[in-house]
């Protein structure tokens, strides 16, 4: 039972972060694509902007790993 709850907790941790990241990247990505169409010189900024929300899923992954390690 404890293993199951640990697994669900880890899954929720990463799934929530992944959904949040996906939502943020969809918004930023579409705006960045529009900005790049007018100002191609912003490509570095656009890459950064799109990559920034990935911190959420990275931290979600770390939390999930920590939960699983604690469970084992």
């Amino acid at each position: 039972m404890e293993t199951l709850s640990m697994s669900i907790a880890a899954a929720v941790a990463i799934a929530g972060c992944a959904l949040a990241t996906a939502w943020a990247q969809s918004k930023i990505g579409s705006s960045a694509a529009a900005a790049l169409a007018e100002k191609p010189e912003l490509r570095a900024t656009a890459i950064l902007m799109v990559a920034i929300p990935e911190t959420m899923v990275v931290l979600g992954f770390v939390v999930a790993v920590l939960i699983l390690l604690r469970g084992s």
Partner: protein, 619 residues
């Protein structure tokens, strides 16, 4: 690194201004700037004579550009040419005459090409034309254009119903999908067919302009010889264009270069301060090239002096980056951001060290590293473009680190090395020691950011000591925080915990006193940035796990061949992800986290006065 610049002042008699500017243009190492006007002098400005000359040069240049561009549409490429140009009046006359001639040729060619294309669309009907028109004297001929094959079938059916066998129809489908139809009917039925075609809204096919006034039967007979004439006329136009290019192409190329150079020189002269007898012109040049400036200005009445740094400190100095050959390819990565401000730090050497290292820590696989190295070598050998060669060099550096860390992790295409060759981790087994890998990633982040803070402190020491001390103390606080955490988790003796915490609090108070309450926020930001390096562990673990899953595939399917094929595809996908994802994330760690500690954008590019050079032309 940012190379040292000098601000120089060139002085001389006013009569020598133009010659001096041309000499500086030949040297190509001075960027003129608006000269501060000493008492009794004024900005050179643009006299009516200079304005007229500028307009004249712009007109000539526009004509030359138009002639060259139009010649390009005729298939003639004018290659850039150095050397003495024609005299200005002759160049002006030639540019006007050539532009008109070339545009005339281009217009003629356009008309001929249109006519040829129209004639060629009827060409397949020519073969039947003589047979259809020869015997029958009293016939009516129709040339129709139909949209779609179904319309043609409907027309045939309608004609069959109306005329039975008393008509002849030949059709040809064009590339556009339209059909050209030649219809021959007895002259006695002409009225009927006119009525039928009008009712069905069938469109008559257009004839070329040269024959559109002739009766259709005569026009059709004329079109075949006309096509041959048009083709010959096109060849003559092309020959004329080649002759023009050969006769005057070099003059055009030299004239274009001359006009560009003169216009740039006129612009440069505007920066000078002048009196009735003398001129002063100021500009930026790299310190290493200062002797070349003096050598370029050989006339004894021209003087060059360096303006003391304390007179220009704080001005917007143009920035020139110059890095050793080993680091230079990484300028491709830093060039995505604005130039650093003069007097600050060029981040390229740091990127050259840490970018491949962090990439290697993430991917860390001997097999992937070797494949990447092979790709880098192929790109290096196959490409002649400098940008592609830079990417190849970066890929080579990255692959070497990947191989080195792959040996440390004992990974060759995941755990394949372990299974086949008995490869074992020398340092860290990433599949098992996830927590240790996380600590390694965060430690790397801490060290990386501490280096950035120390660089910022060293760089700002001369300009803003309070800020420099603040940056240095932030680095110290980061180190103390790391010691406290290590002591808390028994990685260093527990006796270090309390001293580290106390020192951290004391340092924090000092930083707040020095920089205000925002210093606390800045420290929290830096600490948060360290956490961001956890992505190194996340991506690394994902990479190795994907490789391990790929290796398990050969046993997961009934057929070994199918399993191996799936495993190869999975490795290929993992390799593609490996190329893309770590690159983006390591770039982000540099641009956001690392550069945030010391990078100061805002440098202007160095644009020395030099001779014009065209964009590369593919001939």
């Amino acid at each position: 690194m940012i190379i040292e610049m000098a601000k120089i002042r060139v002085l001389g008699p006013i009569a020598q201004l133009s010659a001096t500017v041309r000499a500086l243009q030949d040297a190509g190492i001075v960027q003129p700037i608006d000269t501060a006007c000493p008492r009794g002098m004024q900005r050179c400005g643009e006299s009516p004579t200079v304005r007229r000359r500028r307009r004249h040069l712009e007109r000539v240049l526009a004509r030359i550009d138009e002639a060259i561009a139009t010649l390009a549409t005729l298939g003639i490429t004018i290659v850039d040419m150095r050397g003495a140009p024609l005299a200005e009046p002759r160049l002006a006359r030639l540019s006007a005459r050539l532009r008109d001639q070339v545009i005339g040729l281009a217009n003629r060619r356009r008309e001929l090409v249109d006519e040829r294309d129209t004639l060629r669309s009827y060409e397949p009907l020519f073969a039947d034309l003589d047979a259809l028109l020869a015997g029958a004297r009293r016939v009516s001929v129709y040339l129709l254009r139909l949209h779609g094959s179904s319309v043609l079938a409907e027309l045939r059916a309608a004609l069959d119903r109306a005329f039975g066998p008393d008509y002849v129809l030949r059709s040809h489908v064009l590339r556009s999908g339209e059909s050209i139809v030649l219809l021959v009917v007895p002259a006695s039925r002409a009225e009927d067919i006119d009525r039928e075609l009008a009712a069905a809204h069938v469109e008559r096919a257009p004839l070329p302009t040269a024959v559109d006034r002739l009766p259709l039967a005569d026009a059709l007979r004329t079109m075949r010889p006309r096509l041959a004439e048009v083709v010959q006329a096109l060849e003559r136009v092309h020959a004329d264009a080649i002759a023009l290019g050969r006769a005057h192409g070099d003059d055009l190329a030299r004239g274009r270069r001359y006009c560009h150079d003169e216009l740039v020189a006129l612009d440069a002269e505007q920066h000078a301060a002048i009196s009735k007898r003398a001129f002063v012109l100021e500009g930026w040049t790299p310190v290493r090239d200062q002797n070349r400036v003096t050598a370029a200005l050989t006339k004894p009445e021209i003087a060059v002096e360096e303006i003391a740094r304390n007179e220009w400190a704080g001005e917007d100095v143009p920035v020139v980056l110059a890095n050793p050959r080993l680091f230079a390819p990484f300028e491709a990565l830093t060039s995505l951001l604005p130039l650093p401000r003069y007097g600050t730090v060029d981040p390229t050497p740091f990127v050259a060290v840490f970018f491949p290292m962090l990439f290697g820590v993430i991917v860390g696989d001997v097999g992937y590293g070797l494949v990447l190295l092979a790709l880098a070598l192929v790109l290096r050998l196959a490409s002649r473009r400098s940008a592609a060669r830079s990417i190849a060099k970066i890929a080579a550096a990255v692959s070497i680190y990947t191989i080195v860390f792959g040996i440390c992790y004992g990974e060759l295409f995941g755990d394949l090395g372990m299974q086949w060759f008995g490869l074992h981790p020398l340092w860290l087994d990433r599949r098992e020691a996830v927590l240790a890998f996380l600590v390694l990633a965060l430690a790397l982040g801490g060290v990386h950011l501490c280096i950035g803070l120390v660089v910022a402190a060293a760089n700002r020491w001369r300009r803003d000591r309070r800020d420099a001390i603040g940056r240095g103390l932030t680095a110290v606080m980061l180190a103390l925080l790391a010691i406290a955490l290590l002591a808390l988790f028994d990685r260093v003796p527990a006796m270090f915990l309390m001293p580290a915490v106390i020192a951290l609090l004391v340092t924090l108070v000092i930083v707040i006193v020095l920089e205000g309450a925002t210093a606390l926020l800045e420290f929290m930001t830096v600490a948060n940035h360290v956490l961001s390096y956890a992505r190194v562990m996340a991506l690394g673990t994902a990479s190795v796990m994907l490789a391990v899953v790929a290796n398990r595939m050969h046993g997961a399917f009934g057929s070994a061949a199918l399993g191996i094929a799936f495993a190869l595809v999975f490795h290929l996908v993992n390799f593609a992800i490996t190329l893309f994802s770590p690159t983006i994330h390591v770039m982000r760690l540099h641009y956001v986290e690392f550069f945030g500690t010391f990078f100061e954008p805002g440098g202007g590019p160095y644009r020395p006065l030099r001779h014009w050079s065209p964009a590369p032309v593919v001939s």
